[in-house]
């Protein structure tokens, strides 16, 4: 449908105002919020993700598109009949691990995942394992996303996973990891469930893990 295509384009190019009013209009035409999410927001984010992978789109564009997607979701919220979207998609607790104060990568990922319809609980930086566990339990999160830039703090990722095991909740949550010193090998080494090299990949991974 023409309107949904247009909405996808607005999201992809981060045109917030245009995206919001079009979403409002589409709701008025009795198009379901589900359809708007799928064929508007997600189609836009996926198209951007594809261009990003080909080095045709860049990080600032992920940021503005994520922001636009988030605001369109706000418009849809009152009309969601099966309850808020995150009940379907899931809740992600995200943070930079203990000892590390870098938040650039984590913020990009949080923005894109939230734009993709997940509820995101951002615990900020230098988050001790016990805090991750507490918040995961409190929010009944299904995904825990750990970020690290400062190489020595990778050990804190390992520690967080160990505490999840000690607390007996390792099986009830998926853990994804990312950051400059992280790769698939390290992910496997510490027994996390997935690694993503960038934000669009992180959104795809979150969708896979949530299913």
């Amino acid at each position: 449908m023409e309107g949904l295509k247009k909405l996808a384009e607005y999201v992809e190019y981060g045109k917030r105002q245009e995206a919001k009013s079009l979403a409002q209009k589409l709701l008025g035409e009795n198009i379901s919020p589900d359809t708007i999410v799928k064929e508007g927001i997600m189609a836009g984010l996926n198209a951007l993700g594809e261009r990003f992978e080909k080095f045709e789109a860049f990080v600032p564009e992920l940021m503005v598109a994520g922001r636009a997607a988030k605001e369109v979701l706000e418009v849809l919220k009152p009309k969601m009949t099966q309850g808020p979207l995150h009940k379907i998609k899931g809740t992600v607790v995200i943070g930079t691990v203990e000892g590390d104060v870098h938040d650039v990568g984590k913020n990009i990922v949080a923005m894109v995942i939230e734009g993709g319809g997940f509820k995101v609980i951002d615990l900020g930086v230098d988050v001790p394992p016990s805090k991750f566990i507490k918040e995961v339990k409190y929010h009944e999160a299904n995904i825990l996303a750990l970020s690290a830039l400062y190489t020595p703090t990778r050990l804190a990722m390992k520690g967080t996973l160990e505490l999840l095991r000690t607390e007996g909740i390792r099986d009830s949550i998926k853990v994804m990891v990312g950051g400059a010193p992280i790769d698939q090998n390290f992910c496997d080494l510490i027994g996390a469930d997935g690694y993503a090299p960038d934000a669009p990949a992180a959104l795809k991974l979150a969708e896979r893990l949530a299913n």
Partner: protein, 268 residues
């Protein structure tokens, strides 16, 4: 401008493989090429082992190996006092340590080593307490706190190189401005302390990164940067540097510029 050659860093896949495989020739070639290209220091990082004991063994291998190939001091990049001490014991000349920050435990564990071995120290304007402050005044405050602690250790301020921390423009378009203002303010209020920085973070997430890095270096030179952590085998950036210094009033009678010209270093 002092040049710290950045290439011996195990966050680069090939270097990591060379260190793991103890490929001496590869590492020595990196050292030689950077020294020949004009580096005054060579950064050495081997942060990939999970535990400091293994990192320490890496440095025990790396330090003498590199200094045999290039007769210049090293910039020892590690978080662990154990690793730094191992490296310094084997090091010839006046080393640089990368890095301390505003965390008291890091200052207390690393500054005494720096003093004992008569080193220079890079100090990041961040801390666990304050993170990386969003404003230049927040970062200068951390620098002042570090300067005070250095004083109480009787560590000379001119041996501290403050790094105002460069964050990507792609996630906040004010990150360049905040960096430059911080650098200028530290040079003014904490003299004779020095300043340093890497360049490439500024352009993360954007296309044509070199363009951004080069312009950023020029502006940082104007703001008083004393040491740049960069790839000295990048001939374009090495051609830009004397020009930036010339324009910033840091080249007496234009002599360095003319020397660079005669050596053909401006032809890139």
């Amino acid at each position: 401008m002092e040049i710290v050659g950045e290439k011996i860093n195990t966050t680069r896949q090939k270097v990591e493989e060379a260190v793991r495989g103890r490929n001496a020739a590869f590492i020595q070639e990196l050292a030689r090429a950077q020294a020949e290209a004009g580096a005054h220091y060579l950064e050495v990082n081997s942060g990939m082992p999970l535990y400091p004991e293994e990192e320490s063994e890496d440095f025990a291998w790396l330090v003498p190996l590199i200094q045999t190939a290039a007769d210049i001091p090293l910039c020892i990049d590690s978080a662990y006092p154990l690793v730094i001490e191992t490296a310094l014991k084997l090091h010839k000349g006046k080393a640089m340590i990368n890095s301390i920050n505003g965390d008291p435990y890091r200052i207390e564990s690393i500054l005494p080593l720096a003093k004992k071995f008569d080193c220079k120290v890079i100090a990041l304007t961040s801390s666990r307490e304050d993170g990386i402050p969003a404003t230049s005044s927040g970062r200068v405050e951390i620098a002042e706190k570090i300067a005070k602690m250095a004083q109480s250790h009787a560590f000379p301020l001119e041996n501290i190189y403050f790094d105002p921390l460069v964050l990507p423009l792609s996630t906040n378009d004010q990150n360049g401005r905040v960096f430059l203002e911080t650098m200028r303010e530290i040079k003014k209020s904490l003299s004779p302390a020095k300043t340093t920085s890497g360049l490439s973070n500024i352009s993360y997430g954007l296309p044509k990164r070199k363009r951004i890095n080069h312009a950023f270096l020029a502006l940082a030179v104007w703001c008083g940067m004393d040491a740049a952590i960069l790839d000295p085998t990048d001939k374009e950036i090495m051609a830009m540097l004397p020009v930036a210094e010339l324009i910033s009033g840091r080249d007496a009678d234009c002599m360095d510029y003319l020397t660079a010209y005669r050596k053909g270093k401006l032809n890139y």
